[in-house]
Amino acid sequence: MRSDRGQSAPLGLKIAAGCGLLFLHLPILLIFVYAFTTEEKSFVWPPPGLTTQWFAVTWNRPDVWQALSLSVRVAAISTAIALILGTLCSAAVSRTKFFGRETISLLVILPIALPGIITGIALRSAFALADIPFSFWTIVLGHATFCVVVVYNNAVARFRRTSGSMIEASMDLGADGFQTFRHVVLPNIATALLAGGMLAFALSFDEVIVTTFTAGQQQTLPIWMLEELIRPRQRPVTNVVAMVVMLVTLLPILFAYYLTRDGDQIAGSGK
């Protein structure tokens, strides 16, 4: 079916679309409002009063900073691992033919299809079996399993769209393997890696299920939030953290969105 570009959508459809968007985003606004409430034990609507004191309280809570720092470090390192492994794996799968290629492709993608709880239990029992104590690195390992998938998927899609003879052309013109990677491969997959990396970072940053199985006493930010909700004191602090995290992550995601959009135009125009 095709509709005219100039023709406006019927009123009913507009209202339905508006309601859908409201349903998705109104609860988020609610979180913002509760960050300013004066009631600290439970969330009451309407808020009995408005205050900005929770920002100062949050700033001075060391546990918030610890959780935030752990989450950022875990996400950064998981993403770095995923970028390297995901790129290498996608290059191998899309550039060469070898026995078991399809199997490897499937096995790499599998962790994202598996429920997190299964990944978590599997990793926990594996760590226990191998006598590996829970640490920062066990969390990173758990997160890397699904971060690799995201980078891999993005890179494979891009590799598929880049002409294979481009790499040969680069070699033919005198560039060795490293120069070819730096001057031809990387510029062509950079935006795909950026998008994959951002998504991997975001996935790792708000991961709860796998983390509960692979973390020891340490708390990542989402786990800290879960714990905070059970405790009856200073509840709005959670909302303040949620709000700040959301605002801070929004910027790079918008940035990545614009960057990959332009990149796709460039990559597509070459063929």
Partner: protein, 332 residues
């Protein structure tokens, strides 16, 4: 004199597939050499062996006297114009052309100047700032050519470079490539499946089939004196005549070829010759192609346009000069 490219018993097997099978080849410096053959005949693999993208399974390759086995593509003084041009979409035209100099560490000003000159050479001056995506097919092909030539290769390899262009553009490019080759004095090795292209451009042609070279020679050699039935049929669709038929006219029991333009078609009543029936006529502009059936033997004749033609299905008599009958080496 050392050959520009020399193959000695070169084979390239992919599993049980013999893509290139014991090929001997000598390409003279400054020659315009065409590799002609149907798809899958091994001509492109030969080109890739020269470029270094493939390594021979056995045999040896030398380029201007230097052994080429084991030498990676980036250390060979050979450049390729790819079939799909393989321009880098993330670089503008000038940086595409300057790429080879950039990776060799030539300074920016110098390499841009050289790239600008190469672009003038292929008649695209001032196109440097554009992206490959903004160019037409013919322009992209010129950029690919400039990008290869800027490195001053000893041998330029062209992999079906005109395949994607329309007829008019292709004819222009054929002439341009030829004059460019003469002006630069670089050895050109050209892969094509188009026999007309090979005959009109090349100094010498190698006809490939099934991983082997069937015949190497000047275009005239190949066209007038094919050695095998395959060459006769593939290059210019000659009539291939079976030994029994040939014996009646030449006294020798051998395969022979007869060019379609050597056959004269007369009315049935006009006397001696091969009795045949006109199956169909095919108007080609300057000429008309006739499909004939001489007692089960299918023949083609080409007559100039304007000749009075028999009607389809009519009985005709075919005549030809004995000297136009070319006996082939292939055993009967």
């Amino acid at each position: 004199m050392t050959s520009a490219v020399s193959f000695q018993k070169v084979s390239r097997h992919f599993g049980s597939v013999r893509a290139v099978d014991a090929v001997d080849l000598d390409i003279t410096p400054r020659e315009f050499f065409a590799m002609l053959g149907p798809s899958g005949s091994g001509k492109t693999t030969c080109l890739r062996l020269i470029a270094g993208f493939e390594q021979p399974t056995s045999g040896s390759i030398s380029i201007f006297g230097e052994r080429a086995e084991g030498v990676p593509p980036y250390r060979r003084n050979v450049n390729t114009v790819f079939q799909d041009y393989a321009l880098f979409p993330h670089l503008n035209v000038l940086d595409n052309v300057a790429y080879g100099l950039m990776v060799k560490g030539v300074g920016k000003a110098e390499r841009h100047k050289a790239a600008e000159e190469a672009l003038s050479l292929v008649r695209l001056p001032g196109y440097g700032a554009r992206r490959p995506g903004q160019l037409s097919g013919g322009q992209r092909q010129r950029v690919a050519l400039a990008r290869a030539l800027v490195n001053q290769p000893k041998v330029l390899l062209l992999d079906e470079p005109l395949g994607a262009l329309d007829l008019k553009l292709r004819e222009n490019m054929q002439e341009e490539l030829k004059s460019l080759q003469k002006a630069l004095g670089i050895t050109f090795v050209f892969v094509t499946h188009d026999q007309g292209e090979a005959l009109s451009m090349a100094d010498r042609v190698a006809v490939f089939n099934d991983g082997k070279i069937m015949q190497i020679g000047t275009p005239e050699d190949i066209y007038q004196r094919p050695k095998t039935r395959f060459v006769a049929d593939f290059v210019g669709s000659s009539n291939v005549l079976p030994p029994d038929f040939v014996q009646r006219y030449s006294g020798q029991h051998r395969w022979a070829s007869l060019r379609p333009e050597s056959i004269r078609v007369g009315r049935a009543a006009s006397g001696e010759g091969v009795a045949a029936r006109l199956v169909s006529t095919n108007y080609l502009g300057a000429t008309t192609k006739l499909a004939l059936d001489a007692d089960g033997l299918k023949l083609h004749a080409i007559v100039p346009a304007g000749t009075a033609l028999p009607v389809e299905g009519e009985a005709v008599v075919l005549t030809f000069n004995r000297e136009h009958l070319h006996l082939m080496d292939e055993p009967a």
